[in-house]
Amino acid sequence: MSSFGDKSLIPASALENPIFPRELEDEAIYIMREVAAQFERPAILFSGGKDSITLVRLAQKAFYPGKIPFPLVHVDTGHNFPETIAYRDWLVKEVGAELIVRYVQDSINQGKVQEETGKYASRNALQTVTLLDAIEEFKFDACIGGARRDEEKARAKERIFSVRDDFGQWDAKRQRPELFDMLNGRISVGENVRVFPISNWTELDVWNYIKEEGIPLPSIYFSHQRPVFERDGMLWADSEFINKDTDEIPYEATVRFRTVGDMTCTAAVLSEATELDDIIGEILSAEISERGARMDDKRSEAAMEKRKQQGYF
């Protein structure tokens, strides 16, 4: 695989006409440095998706030539795409970061959460418990996440430093005002902070940044052949983790994924996009929003806000 930030990966179009607003990178690097300075035990929440990969790039740049001064934490549902796991293991070696993995399966074995049943069964919601346990185990006081305000309406109101109580809960009405670029990370015992350095980025900004930085991505973001089946007008990767109805018959299709959650909640889109420029072209003409391919948001109009109140990042 190429290196992280491989200049040979940058298409000529991006070198000639860069369009990513660099002010967003300056802002994110400033936030990363505030986290390192204001907290004792920060961590990056790493999912293997493009947003958390972007966070790793920003952290690498913020502390260069030093190493990233905090670990990457991956909450593994056990239902990840194998391509994501392979990429994760390569990336931590490449940037010399520490990796901590905690498993939803362990939370299930400990009886802390119960596996969902039925055809929509997913471990997505169960992640929250495993994450909160990891925060307690390592006494993380700040968890850096790749959430963006343009993703969803409840996230549009999220702060850059978002204080959570003992139970990891988000209270929209008790949020601290954030003025100018002054970040207040002071917390009481038991509280912790979720930090969102790419709050002000849109999906397109992330893709343009990846392109202009020469960042390699997990292969599932690009067009490939795989067996899929249809459900609720969307395409799902056929895997042992999804309970199919008898009439849900898998077939081969040329697809890619726009977000990389776990296999039970991330739908594929038909796509011939094999290059970053093709992907960006698809987004510009997009018919469906990024989170539109996420089953977890569709459960109700206020699904995201409710999950955030419960401690989801």
Binding site: E23, D26, F63, P65, R149, D150, A156, F180, D181, M182
Partner: protein
């Protein structure tokens, strides 16, 4: 590509959410699934048109009450520029959110309902825009459809606004007036026939024309707060010591003679780096790592400034403060003061005056400063800070106040 940050404000029901929805809709920033969800939600409400306000009214409580209660950030772009809107609520109880949302804005959009004209809220919003020294204010006279697109009514509102604005407008602050109808998309992204008497351009074109570079922070005195000291301690970078930070204002260049505050030590800039790139200059808002020629003691919270441009050392501060907390501020209270990335304990020596934002009347020595109130205060700080006046250099002239026990951000101050 540059970014333009806009703050929007208006009273309840003057159609701010619809205006933003309209901007998103007409710049094709809404995907099909979101549009379909919008159609369905509009139908459920019994409407026969697209309720664009539903795009931005995010939180459950807001949907229940039908008002916007917090700062929401909304994004759209044109081929030339990325826009970030901080949409802040109009309700007067939420002044704190407006100050918050507007604190990063270069343009303030103020909505006026063409039927009601300039109301109490309108002046409050303008007052805050001026207090924050936002260089451009665009007054959108909305719901022009409901006054028959009357030029006379528009001119009347313009005059009313100018009359009250003159009291707090600062020199260099521009005010423009645009007649619009958010509901019907009149004059939002393109000029419409309904208002042929209007010789100006549409709202979006007004925004596109705004030259952000005119009033850039780069023209102010150079200030570099040190956020983090990079010491890799690896074989390759054995003696490396770089000072990481974001240029608050001005420009730094390799070879510049600098002073470290508060120690007063002098040195010269030997290099400016941005990841693996070496730069000759670092401009305002850029995150870089600066190295110095000589071995001086620099740590987080110190500030590098150019020799000859040192700010005043302050042990006592006189400032205008907007109070953001339910528990009122009283004289004698001890707080934490955060100026940029630096902080110190501070004690309130006196509340000197309370400003009535409607009448601009000042009452002297108020007993307290309540939530959403603005007043002049005097503070003593435990360690000296190096600030400019907010008027001179906003990036180095503002601070926040933090409660020592709850750790909440309870106030924002502007140095006099």
């Amino acid at each position: 590509m540059d970014i333009l940050r806009i703050a929007t404000a208006g009273s309840v029901d003057d159609g701010k959410s619809t205006l933003i929805g309209r901007l998103l809709y007409e710049t094709q920033s809404i995907t099909r699934d979101k549009l379909e969800a919008l159609e369905a939600a509009s139908k459920r409400k019994g409407l026969d048109f697209l309720d664009l306000s539903l795009l931005t009214d995010g939180l459950i409580a807001e949907r229940e009450q039908g008002i916007t209660i917090d700062v929401a950030h909304i994004y759209f772009s044109t081929p030339t520029r990325k826009y970030i809107i901080a949409d802040t609520p109009g309700h007067f109880e939420y002044t704190r959110n407006m100050v918050t949302g507007a604190s990063n804005a270069k343009v303030s959009l103020i909505l006026v309902d063409a039927r009601h004209g300039v109301v109490e809220q309108t002046f409050r919003h303008f007052f805050i825009s001026s207090m924050l020294r936002i260089p451009k204010v665009i007054v959108c006279v909305n719901k022009m459809d409901l006054v028959g697109y009357s030029e006379e009514r528009f001119q009347q509102i313009k005059q009313e606004f100018q009359d009250i604005a003159a009291k707090v407008q600062f020199s260099g602050q521009e005010i423009e007036f645009v007649p619009i109808s958010s509901l019907y998309g009149v004059n939002i992204t393109k000029k419409s026939d309904e208002i042929s008497w209007y010789l100006g351009v549409s709202l979006l074109e007004t925004l596109e024309k705004f030259d952000d570079q005119v009033k850039t922070d780069s023209s102010h005195a150079a200030r570099f707060p040190v956020q983090y000291v990079v010491r890799p301690k690896t074989e390759e970078y054995h003696d490396y010591r770089g000072y990481a930070g974001r240029v608050a204002s001005g420009t730094f260049s390799v070879g510049d003679e600098i002073v470290v505050l508060p120690t007063g030590q002098r040195s010269k800039i030997s290099s400016i780096e941005k990841f693996d790139q070496s730069l000759q200059h670092a401009h305002a808002r850029e995150s870089v790592v600066i190295s110095l020629e000589t071995d001086v003691d620099v740590s987080r919270g110190n500030m590098l400034v150019k020799a000859g441009e040192e700010p005043t050392q302050l042990r006592e501060i006189s400032a205008q403060v907007c109070w953001l907390d339910y528990q009122a501020l009283t004289p004698g209270k001890t707080l934490l003061l955060q100026h940029g990335i630096n902080d110190t304990k501070a004690k309130v020596l006196a509340l000197e005056e309370l400003i009535n934002v409607q009448t601009l009347e000042k009452s002297e020595n108020p007993a307290q400063l309540k939530l959403n109130e603005i007043g002049g205060i005097r503070l003593k700080v435990a360690k000296p800070i190096f600030a400019d006046t907010y008027q001179e250099n906003p990036s180095n002239g503002a601070f926040i106040l933090i409660d020592e026990f709850s750790h909440a951000t309870v106030g924002v101050g502007f140095m006099n």
